[in-house]
């Protein structure tokens, strides 16, 4: 450009303070014929060049474009973006199947739902890429989606396992609790004869526990836990009922009264030098005192509801009080028998009072025919209120006592099975309804 005609007319005078008219002039100059002519001359060489090389240039541009396109198409293939992530898909499926086998849908339903959903999204994306033309496929997002689905499935499996183990642990605990309560209920059921309702309840608890075990075996832990807890509650109710019934055996004032009755009987025997009988119901014992000393002690069976004091006929309870032998029966339905004077005046007075209070139904009497007889020694309470000892023992007792011999029957001395039952189970059942 040096030495030639200036391309741009110098329309803006140097040092001009007003730039605006100068700019207008400059623009006008740029499009002036003079300027265009100058430009045309300047680029005439270029035009000549293009005219001469146009096919070569075209070929060059075409080849560059072609190469660019080819590179654009081949690069994803070469880079592996188009390769279907079969291995990733397989891993994700395996993880999902593991989670399903672990029953994650049951033990971790939310996480499993997330995993299933993520897998479906990943598979849909997979299919979307799969149907594209090869160079346009890009499985990178699919790989990420499959990895996310696999992670979620693994988490679902882990949480499912954890949930199942937790549920199993809770069911195991409930089963152990049920076993313990049922064993306790059975123990108290063996210690005393339970009434029909309570006995049925105890049996129901055993059935419920068996059912709980069967349900546990088939893997339905929450239901097994529910049934085991039901069994435990039923058995606890049985224990509570039994402990309530036996509670008077641990009542200090009553135990003191019984001890006093025993002491008085022993004292009488000692002072009179006579023979006396003391029956301790809860100890299953009949003691024969002579001259204030125990000379014989027999194993005795009581009425099968002897946890109670006798109140009326048919209640199968052995009466508690001071009695005497009214007559000896060498020929009895129960081998031999010693008849007692139940009901005595005290029993009658109490019966009348209870009847007045409406605690005894109409048409029911105080009962009677209470005896000490044979055919006993069975190791369980089975009589309807009598005291039964073995035939060998009744033979021996028959020789030792006579009509008028005092017989003191008490609940116990505070150390027998009922008192023990209350001490052992009283605390554990006190919280139950």
């Amino acid at each position: 450009m040096a030495g030639g005609t200036p391309i741009v007319p110098s329309a803006v005078p140097p040092g001009s303070r007003s730039a605006s008219p100068a700019l207008v002039l400059w623009i006008a100059g740029a499009f002036s014929p003079t300027f265009l002519g100058a430009m045309s001359r300047r680029f005439s060489g270029f035009r000549t060049f293009v005219a001469r090389w146009r096919w070569r240039l075209f070929a060059l541009v075409f080849c560059v474009t072609l190469l660019g396109c080819a590179a654009g198409l081949v690069w994803p293939i070469a880079a592996g973006y188009t390769e279907a992530p079969l291995y990733d898909k397989g891993r994700a499926w395996d993880a999902l199947e593991d989670a399903r086998r672990a029953a994650a849908s049951r033990w971790a339903p939310d996480v499993q739902r997330e995993a299933e959903s993520a897998m479906r999204v990943a598979l849909a994306a997979y299919r979307r890429e799969e149907v594209r033309l090869l160079p346009f496929r890009d499985f990178r997002p699919v790989r990420s989606a499959l990895a996310a689905a696999e992670d979620k499935a693994r988490r679902a499996q882990a949480e499912g396992n954890r949930g199942r183990l937790d549920a199993k642990a809770r069911a195991d605990e409930a089963l152990a609790g049920g076993e313990m309560e049922v064993a306790r209920g059975t123990e108290v059921g063996e210690a005393m004869h339970l009434g029909p309702y309570t006995r049925t309840l105890l049996q129901k608890s055993k059935i419920a526990l068996r059912e709980a075990k069967a349900i546990h075996a088939r893997g339905d832990f929450p239901e097994a836990q529910r049934r085991a807890e039901q069994a435990a509650a039923q058995a606890r109710a049985v224990s509570k009922h039994a402990v309530d019934a036996a509670s008077r055996y641990a009542e200090p004032s009553l135990v003191a009264r019984w001890r006093r009755m025993i002491d008085e009987t022993i004292r009488w025997s000692r002072s009179s030098g006579g023979t006396a009988i003391v029956v301790l119901k809860e100890n299953h014992r009949l003691d024969v005192y002579d001259d204030g000393r125990v000379v014989r002690s027999y194993r005795a069976d009581m009425g099968y509801r002897s946890v109670n004091d006798k109140l009326a006929s048919g209640d199968a309870a052995t009466p508690e009080g001071r009695y005497r032998i009214t007559h000896k029966k060498p020929g009895s339905a129960y081998y031999k028998a010693l008849a007692l004077d139940y009901p005595n005046s005290e029993d009658r007075a109490r019966f009348a009072q209870m009847k007045r209070r409406g605690q005894i139904p109409r048409g029911v009497g105080p009962g009677g025919l209470i005896e000490i007889h044979g055919d006993g020694g069975r190791g369980k309470d089975w009589t309807r209120g009598c005291v039964a000892i073995s035939n060998r023992d009744i033979d021996d007792l028959f020789r030792r006592v006579g009509v008028g011999t005092p017989v003191t029957i008490v609940g116990g001395d505070g150390q027998g099975r009922f008192a023990r039952l209350v001490r052992e189970h009283g605390a554990s059942t006190s919280g139950t309804q």
């Binding site: 479906r120 979307r128 149907v131 059935i207 349900i215 099968y304 129960y334 055919d375 089975w382």
Partner: protein, 199 residues
């Protein structure tokens, strides 16, 4: 020229018809109906694995339909969708059949267990009525009656579970009651043997 126009129109029409293919709605509806039938047949409880296979196949079908719907209309092809719909239907039919078979098996098991326990209970009651009664048997008889009452209550629960279609529970309850009845029968037999021994 006219001939050429006619040929071009024909080709265009064919492309249009081929390009505007529609989803296999009938096959999809049929597959959905089969899925509903499988669920109603209790597949969730009695054939969970088969039902899961149905869910997977249905998910694959949905994905395929979505892929095709996202394509430009002329490039859609529902051939694979049709195959997948047929697969879903086949799997759903299998799930329904499995559920029915398993449910029938469970029902038969529960019915048989309840039948056995009902017979055993009747036998036990009859045996208890005929059991040797003597000195001191009142307490034992009362206890055994209470035990049988509990077994009967469990049997009633089992029958209720059977009626409501809860066959697994029905069987568990019946089996649990059976043990109690067997225990009572053993006690009665022991009493009979004891009496026979005394004679």
């Amino acid at each position: 020229m006219r001939k050429m126009m006619a040929v071009l129109s024909l080709v265009f029409g064919l492309v249009l018809v081929a390009g505007c293919s529609k989803p296999p709605q009938q096959a999809i509806d049929s597959a959905n109906a089969s899925i509903d039938a499988a669920k109603q047949a209790g597949a969730a409880d009695y054939a969970p694995d088969s039902l899961r296979a149905v869910d997977d196949a249905k998910a694959a079908l949905d994905a395929e339909l979505k892929v095709q719907q996202d394509k430009f209309a002329l490039f859609r092809s529902y051939k694979k969708s049709d195959e997948l719909a047929a697969d879903v239907k086949a799997k759903a039919d299998k799930a329904a059949a499995d559920a029915k078979a398993n449910m029938e098996q469970a029902k038969n098991d529960a019915t048989a267990a309840i039948g056995n326990v009902t017979t055993a209970l009747a036998d036990a009651k009859a045996a208890l009525d005929k059991a040797p009664k003597g000195k001191g048997t009142a307490a034992d008889i009362e206890a055994m009656k209470a035990d049988l009452a509990a077994a009967e209550a469990s049997l009633n629960d089992a029958n209720a579970a059977l009626s409501s279609g809860n066959y697994k529970d029905a069987k568990a309850k019946a089996d649990a009651a059976a043990s109690t009845i067997q225990n009572v029968m053993s006690q009665i037999q022991a009493a009979i043997d004891a009496k026979a021994g005394k004679k």
